[in-house]
């Protein structure tokens, strides 16, 4: 990434840089929301959930149909989407991933990988089959453009998305650090065997982690519909980004994915302004590959303690 030159004569350049960083922060918040949810599952279960993008898509559609059917305002639609996403997440783990917890699988991580990958294919194609591949949109809470400091202009919906993401991130941090459930999750992340012998019910906690993660992904999908629309393949680029965030920040580290989300937001914003907007999806991936080369565990990676 090239840093913009901040010579005094180019105030305009400065303003562009600030505007870019603010836009990057705004989208970075939503990215962080996706990454944190994915990483929660990774930490608790040592599993990469390929269906995370599908949950994002489900959230977008759930919010769209809720507003369409009931005329509900956006906050209600987002909460509704979270409920739907949470339930889907819960049942995916409780029913489809049950063999991972309840029988002796030779390669549990491979099993989950394939099952969630199949699920994501199914969800995407089912959306195209049953909901048609059309783009859909509902009116956001704040469709006007807002102006900050006199020169930063940004769509109000983007601000709404950012604030929602921030609220949900805080709620998740509270859940993880100040409740028994969160303590159980952290225990599972840090030492699987230890959690087993103190009597943590892995299956139950994993179900709840999946539900939480699903709700967060659905919320991210729902708040972005007014900006990026809802369509069957909306989750595909998002899942790649979520993986980038998780690997960037370190597998299993909540703080890592927070940082990773914002880093990705900034990288994309700066890259598309200063390098070229055609390759937005690439910048994050390149950063991830570079980080992986030097820090194979990511920025905040926990040490793996396999038993």
């Amino acid at each position: 990434m090239r840093r913009p030159k901040s010579s005094p004569k180019s105030l305009l350049d400065m303003q562009t840089a600030v505007q870019t960083l603010i836009l990057g922060t705004a989208i970075g918040g939503v990215y962080a929301l996706m990454g944190v949810g994915l990483n929660l599952i990774f930490g608790v279960m040592r599993v990469a959930n390929f269906a995370h993008g599908a949950l994002y898509m489900i959230g977008g559609y759930a919010a769209y149909y809720l507003t369409l059917a009931t005329g509900a305002p956006m906050p209600v639609a987002v909460i509704g989407a979270m409920v739907v996403g949470g339930c889907v997440g819960y049942f995916v783990n409780a029913i489809l991933l049950r063999p991972v917890y309840r029988s002796r699988l030779e390669r549990p991580s491979e099993f989950t990988l394939i099952v969630t990958f199949a699920l994501s294919l199914m969800a995407t194609s089912a959306a195209a089959v049953f909901l048609t591949p059309n783009y859909r949109k509902f009116e956001g809470m704040w469709p006007d453009t807002i102006t900050l400091f006199g020169f930063v202009s940004m769509s109000g919906d983007r601000a709404v998305a950012f604030v929602t993401a921030l609220i949900l991130l805080c709620a998740l941090l509270w859940l993880v650090h100040f409740t028994d459930l969160g303590r159980g999750w952290r225990a599972l992340t840090q030492n699987r065997m230890g959690a087993d012998i103190v009597g943590v019910d892995v299956f139950r906690l994993a179900n709840l982690a999946f539900a939480t993660s699903g709700a967060l992904a659905a919320a991210a999908g729902a708040v972005l519909v007014p900006l990026y629309l809802a369509y069957p393949t909306m989750g595909e680029s998002v899942i790649v980004k979520s993986f980038v965030i998780v690997v960037l920040g370190g597998l299993g580290s909540i703080a890592g994915s927070l940082v990773g989300g914002f880093l990705l937001g900034w990288a994309e914003a700066l890259g598309s302004v200063y390098i070229g907007s055609g390759y937005t999806d690439i910048y994050g991936l390149v950063i991830m590959l570079v980080v992986l080369l030097f820090l194979p565990r990511g920025l905040f990676g926990i040490s793996e303690r396999e038993v």
């Binding site: 303590r183 159980g184 030492n191 065997m193 012998i197 103190v198 009597g199 303690r305």
Partner: protein
Amino acid sequence: MITRPRRTEAAAKPSGRVPVDLVATGLRVAYERDVEILRGVEITAAARRISLVIGPNGAGKSTFLKAVAGLAPVTGGLVTLGGVDITRWRPRDLLAHGVALVPQNGTLFPAMTVRENLQMGGWLRRREKAWLGESIEAVVNRFNLPRHLVDRRAGDLSGGQQKLVEIMRSMIMTPTTLLLDEPTAGLSPKMASQVYEQIAALPGDLGVTVLLVDQNVRSSLAISDDVYVLAMGLNNDRGTARDITERLGEITAGWLRQGVSGAVKS
């Protein structure tokens, strides 16, 4: 008579819990179909005593403990706790019935503080905050853990301290039986003797039945009451600690001979 109770969390209440014998009869374990690690082991851990299991490498000592704790695939035989069949129970259900396990490799949560680790020890009764606080306080006092360590990250403690915290954590639920797998593996002799000291006091102070598996034969013999010797997945010898200590040279010589014959056979 063997009964089969339901494995509910309700059993976690220690009220009226009396230390009872833990008995393994004809215990068999096989990870793969044809490869039996244990071939019918009989061991009784008598109530309020320290029972020690020793044996040469590959005798199945650790597997035995794992099998009792529900972490190894039991293919035959029974484990009973005071007449209750607990074969193949998960660690969670065992803990609810008063059987705690401290495995060989570290099982602390390294990024949590010692206090949080101890709180995790009371996971099954996590909703009873007052009880949990008292229990942690009691355990910290009982083991004389320096106060300033309580709010340290567990990963920052020394190896011996970590092992002690692990034992403390297993004591939060006031178990009647403690299964210990090589508690001093990788510790300095000084640290090891501290850990043994604490283990030796468990039956007398807390009325705990201890089943100890150890490589460190001499030190562990010094604190044990009953001793079982395993070899090649079978009972090889048994006796009181005094009896075995006297015949120790003869027994270990036997292990060496077996090792040689085993090597020749394969």
